[in-house]
């Protein structure tokens, strides 16, 4: 009888261990739209990181003389300017590539702020439940009920003169302000995940070996919630880019001569009858960025959702 522990020896062949992430990635690459999104996102990141070296001209370089024959902005595909220039002779393509940097930074910084605020609040509310849950979720409701744009404008105005307000030409403040209005979805998501996960048996098993609460939440529960969190981050990025563009359009954020996509659209507004390319191309850049993140997010959701496993 004691030899029974040997029974399983035979049938296990050598087989490469396939992790959860590898499985999920396998499902992701089968989704064509998600791959298109992934490639565009990678391109976006590339332009954001290396834009200054890739751009045909420095973004702030003016060539007023060159615009003289056109009595204003140079149209696309003229004089070596693929997307044309603005009324000061600044190359539009270079300016969009520089704007990509701002949009990419806003995407990252806002999501980091969302993670830093949203996950702890959601985790505390979900894990402790009861009164803690009630207080935190009502606080969340209050933030949710406050008009986002107004809140961001108040924050940026209030802190403009501090060291924080001046960091990165005031952009950091804008990014963080957007983040502070965007964590609600994340907190609610994490709370919901923990509420259902904390009833699972492996949590009970972890308690039974003496893991403390903090360890259960951080090592046992949050990793199980990471799929939906990644999806939420990816799908939250378009919102952040759009929020920044909206603020820039209203004149908050990037200061001249730098331009984000929003402020490019704002600048181009004056020329929309004669030179629509000044509005069209920055808007196209915004649209492509939003769509690519949305495609990628949808693909990630399908790939990471265990309920869809096996369906293709």
């Amino acid at each position: 009888m004691a030899t029974q522990t040997q029974v399983l020896e035979a049938p296990v062949a050598t087989r490469k261990s396939s992790g959860l992430w590898r499985d999920a990635f396998g499902r992701l690459v089968k989704n064509r739209l998600a791959i298109v999104g992934l490639i565009l996102v990678a391109l976006f990141a590339l332009v954001a990181l290396f834009g200054p070296w890739l751009a045909p001209y420095p973004y702030q370089q003016q060539d007023v003389a060159a615009t003289a024959p056109y009595h204003g902005p140079i149209p696309p595909l003229t004089d070596g300017h693929v997307l044309g220039t603005d009324e000061l002779g600044r190359d539009l393509l270079s300016r969009i590539m520089d704007g990509a940097q701002i949009s990419f930074a806003v995407a990252m910084v806002v999501q980091i702020v969302v993670l830093i605020i949203g996950i702890p609040i959601g985790a505390l509310a979900g894990w402790f439940g009861g009164r803690m849950d009630n207080y935190l979720m009502r606080f969340t409701d209050v933030i949710y009920a406050f008009p986002d744009l107004l809140f961001i404008i108040i924050l940026t105005v209030a802190f403009r003169e501090t060291w924080f307000g001046r960091a990165l030409d005031g952009l950091l403040l804008v990014f963080v302000a957007i983040g502070i209005t965007s964590w609600i979805t994340m907190a609610r998501l994490v709370r919901g995940q923990l509420l259902s996960l904390k009833e699972t048996e492996f949590v009970e098993a972890a308690k039974a070996i003496g893991v403390r609460d903090r360890g259960i939440v951080s090592r046992h529960l949050l990793p199980n919630a990471i799929g939906p969190v990644i999806v939420a981050i990816t799908l939250g990025i378009p919102g952040a880019i759009l929020a920044e563009a909206t603020l820039a359009f209203l004149g908050i954020g990037a200061q001249a001569p730098r331009a984000s996509w929003g402020s490019l659209i704002d600048d181009g507004r004056d020329f929309i009858r004669g030179d629509p390319h000044l509005v069209f191309f920055p808007a196209l850049a915004v649209a492509i960025a939003l769509l690519s993140f949305t495609f990628l997010g949808d693909g990630l959701r399908d790939a990471l959702d265990p309920k869809l496993k096996g369906k293709q």
Partner: protein, 373 residues
Amino acid sequence: MTVTDDQDRAAGGPAVTELPEDITIATEEGRRLAEQLQDESSRHARKLLEVKNLSTHFFTSDGVVHAVDDISFELDYGETLGLVGESGCGKSVTALSLTRLVPNPPGRIVSGEIIFDGVNIMKLSGEEMRLLRGKRIGFIFQDPMTSLNPTLTVGYQIAESTRIHMGLSRKAADDRAAELLSKVGIPRARDRMSDYPHQFSGGMRQRVMIAIALACDPMLLLADEPTTALDVTIQAQILELIRSLSDEFGTAVILITHDLGIAAGMCNRVNVMYAGRIVETGSVDVIFENPRMPYAWGLLDSLPRLDEQKGARLRTIEGLPPDLINPGPECRFSPRCPYVRDICRTTEPELSPREEEGHLARCHGTEPGGWIQ
């Protein structure tokens, strides 16, 4: 005494284990437990476990459910005790109460004492309970498919409790985990440490659960229906594994099951539970050869037999277990008992001794001078 103690220490005698640093010891009982844990050679109590008048109630919107109602039992070092009874009779709640893991709310241990190795665990703080869980008391859960965390490797999950309780480094904990994994019969244990639970079959996952439960060499193993979710052939292997490892480590086992066959094969003693009460207790031979409680007869009678007539119906105990909200003063089995008399409907019998040593039953009819022989 002090001299020998000192000599012991000087000679590198009893190993002094490190306690987890993050646990604050607050109560008097906790300090006793900590001292005891640090001196591995000590055996402070005569019995490993003494449960006295334990009651665990669930406070629901319908009323108070008396899930475990005033039960008392003892367990020796290295002994295997079976807790048998049908669903909802309080077996699992008893086990959860022993580790104070009853979900609260709605559940709460309302009264009673649980003396584990001389320490009254009811007096420990919640923090101090973590000294015992996993260290002194291992727990095997019913369903291995859901009791392992799907996002953590098997190796990590086994190593986790040794890192908490034995203060092992990551490397040492991994070595220990690999050793345990091969001990529970997983081939190529080293390689499989980095696998995830979904890459293991049900039987192998239960082996992993056993490895986790035994990782810190506990004194008591609580096995809550460890084979219910497994098929019959795997069942036998898992039970054999629990038996051989508990023999090897000298671990006492409380085996919770509704399968009397398992209890008969594994246990030294059996507690039969019904409606939150222990209704009969005795050595396994006595319970199976000469049960003195009609419920135990019913349980034994309802086992399918090999010499059964083909097509014959399985025998059952008529009726349903009673509602555990506000149980009355009657014998709780009386509504289903074929031998019931008026006295059963008015007074609940005490758990009283029968002929054999250590055999107790809760039945008016089989008490000396009763009407059932």
